[in-house]
Symmetry: C2
Subunit: 195 residues, 2 copies
């Protein structure tokens, strides 16, 4: 099946791009991971950049869907609950496919300028969801007043760090990481409730 082969290519490429970077990975490296000749890759893809583009777009889709779902499930709830859902969703996307997610996080700058601009907009829109929530929570008194752009950048990069060091099957389960990162993020922002 054509789709399946494309996926294999993207999976192998994700893992190589993650380890060596896009520029540091050759078309022949990718082909070697599939046990085919370098030139044979072009039976399936139009260019090296197309592979990166496909990976980045699919990852962007996943982050957006996770945020949609988190916001849907917690709409109307207090800001700290909505934050928890957003964090949990984001961490889930990272740990479910670290290769893909880390390429999204780190290698999107290697895209050609037009494509870079396009996912740049999607990244901004995604980050804006976090800023908005932080602004709302600050105004509602649920959060300690914070600068929304700075606090969003702080949180998101803290979470995205997972893409750098997480290994499935390692000593830390995805669940344990999510639990701790939810706690840290919650405490960083949420107002203490004094009983």
């Amino acid at each position: 099946m054509v789709e399946t082969r494309r996926r294999q290519i993207e999976d192998v490429a994700s893992s190589l791009f993650r380890d060596q970077g896009y520029a540091g990975t050759s078309v022949r490296d990718i082909a070697r991971g599939l046990a085919i000749q370098g030139a044979s890759l072009y039976a399936h893809v139009a260019s090296k950049e197309d592979v990166l583009w496909a990976i980045v777009r699919r990852a962007a889709d996943r982050f957006e869907r996770a945020a949609d779902e988190a916001e849907r499930a917690t709409s109307g709830r207090p800001a700290d609950e909505r934050l928890e859902a957003l964090v949990r969703g984001h961490v889930g996307v990272l740990t479910d496919d670290v290769g893909q997610a880390s390429v999204f996080v780190r290698e999107w700058r290697s895209l050609s300028s037009e494509r870079r601009a396009r996912i740049g907009e999607r990244r901004d829109a995604y980050e804006n969801r976090w800023r908005r929530l932080i602004a709302e929570g600050s105004q509602a008194g649920a959060f300690v007043p914070a600068d929304p752009p700075l606090a969003a950048a702080y949180l998101l990069t803290a979470l995205n760090g997972i893409a750098t060091w997480y290994r499935p099957g390692g000593p830390l389960s995805a669940r344990a990481i999510a639990a701790e990162f939810v706690n840290l993020s919650h405490r960083a922002l949420a107002q203490e409730r004094h009983p």
Copy 2:
């Protein structure tokens, strides 16, 4: 002066490595930034990797010195004060020379395996200082109990994110960033004092 030219090379290279990555930057790109021929660079450096190596080492020196100074200045003080000093020092290193710091943060993986292992050790030792402080603070009751490796990873990558988006002369001063990031980090870990 030989030292000065080396510095110019490293500064130009830092900025290019930051924007395009080490693998995505050619020796001729660096030379162009100095208005000399690509081959002329080799009158000053032995290899492209030597330039990366020099940048990474100097950045590592600065992070370690900042942590030494922070620990010296707050030794014997409560854990939350020591954390503040460590955060402030780390952020200061990042904002004082973003180019160099971001190469340290992101491009050290491009070093040859022997050198990568050597700064890997230094990075581990640096991260261990944070883990140790978090463990001590957790035990002393100054911090909400946290998993030291996870919490250290969370904090450090949150701070290191500055290397990605900070531009000197931008809308956010280094001082304002440091203040907000100190607050966020403090709240993420510190036990509330109930009056």
